[in-house]
Subunit: 330 residues, 2 copies
Amino acid sequence: MATANHRITLAQRPQGLVGPECFSSDEVEAPVPGPGQILVEVTWLSIDPTIRGWMAMDTYLPAIEIGAEIRSAGLGKVIESNIETHPVGSTVFGTVGWQQYAVLGADAMVIPEGVEPEAALSVFGVTGLTAYFGLLDVGRPVAGETVLVSGAAGATGSIVGQIARLKGCRVVGIAGSDQKCGWLTDHLGFDAAINYKTDDIAAAIKEHCPNGVDVFFDNVGGDILEAAIGNLAMRGRVVMCGAISQYNDETPRPGPKNLTNLIVMRGRIEGFIILDYFDRAGEAIGELATWVMAGEMKYAVDVVDGLDNAPVALDRLFTGANTGKVMVRL
Amino acid sequence: MATANHRITLAQRPQGLVGPECFSSDEVEAPVPGPGQILVEVTWLSIDPTIRGWMAMDTYLPAIEIGAEIRSAGLGKVIESNIETHPVGSTVFGTVGWQQYAVLGADAMVIPEGVEPEAALSVFGVTGLTAYFGLLDVGRPVAGETVLVSGAAGATGSIVGQIARLKGCRVVGIAGSDQKCGWLTDHLGFDAAINYKTDDIAAAIKEHCPNGVDVFFDNVGGDILEAAIGNLAMRGRVVMCGAISQYNDETPRPGPKNLTNLIVMRGRIEGFIILDYFDRAGEAIGELATWVMAGEMKYAVDVVDGLDNAPVALDRLFTGANTGKVMVRL
């Protein structure tokens, strides 16, 4: 008898906030791996803001089809293998989807033994790669410069700030509660933190970045982006990683009013997608692992239990409930 | 008896359109050159959008002081010299201001004999340098790519488009009348031109840049910038040279709603100021001169006569009345 595969599927495309009406669930037959493929039992899901984009429309990947399982990165344990390098029992990282069983190809990455799932999906996963290459390759901070990070208590932002600190920069984070701000300065070594819900953002950036912002790593967009552009240092760089403040807008909001400050300050705004860096993953993971093992880099996770709670986990990103990487444990 | 120096001065800072109330005039004693200085009789003024910025506020240079002559680049004939390399009778380029006589230092550039004032102030002046370094150093187009230029019939835009064509790019210009558009395609060799006053800009960009915009050289800002961002090619670059559509706004207008397209397309917006490239002027002028002498690069000028008409000349930039470089002949 075929194994049943419980899935969370796309019922309708989100307009505004992603609500429960966007999701459905079903049971289908578990997929069967062909030559050059493996069957995995999904063990963990990586919950990322980009999932909302995939649900809504074609972006850098085609939109998820209605009725298909929600596309998602995650970990799985290999239970059938037609790939010599991916033996049964090993743990792999790949696009597993919100379901119990998934078939993956040889591009699934085998996770070395001893690496905890929490680390594999955060600091050593897409999150860590995004932070590493976005900051270092797009933002190109130099020791002594000031790096400002929005969404700083989130999965990516918290790693960005620590990398910047380890590279000798002054680091200022923006987050949504005093508790998160305290965590950034007391536990992650940020030089300062700004609570965007209670502080005057532009004034606070000016205060904490007295020489201007050399690199702004932006996960948020909107007013925070505008405030950062207004405080750019000469030749300041804005790394556009995300714009989570706007993903749920039904109609697009106007952009920053002060873009011409890019002319005065010879500034730059640049977007990137981490897919383009996957072939250089080794570089990043090597340096991140060194820092983690030396105790110089911390990572936080926000674990939600149960496949059926994946929609709730996704919601935590947009309400700002999470500190660190949101993950679902199956 | 001291020589009288007629000047056009700043009466008040502009709010909205630059009107006659912003200007006054006076007669003062002509300045006297000290050691290492020259006295010039001003012969031509270069009329540039940035003058409005200098009148309004501190930007990349301090604002012009109330009561001082309007800051302006231009040409002058040396009539007294304390610099061996700048003999009496030679023509120099420098920040002469809106006045009859100016004292300049050794950074005034001697214009080689045989170079017409119209060329010296346009293709071989700040305009040509802005087009050259903005396009090639900031935009970095590659042969075969598509370059879109706004303000394409203006001084800078018309040279940008021709450089792009000479570098093997497909060139599309945006201008404000069918006559200007015809001039771009029929006389300057643009592949296509869009009339932003009558065409649907976004649709027209899509039509004329079917593979997307690889480089957008923007002199205009506003809706045109938004339309270009929406049509960026993968790794497209926006060169922010100016935002003339917005310089007269009393309150800043919202920015482009679609900045997150920079993420999807791995795009970039970058500002620059030509001051930073003055030490490389020789590079640009060498290549521009080769093109001009070979008849491959044309330049147009929009000449207004008389110092007292300088305010009217400035106004032509903002109403879009000009084709090519606006200059005042004293």
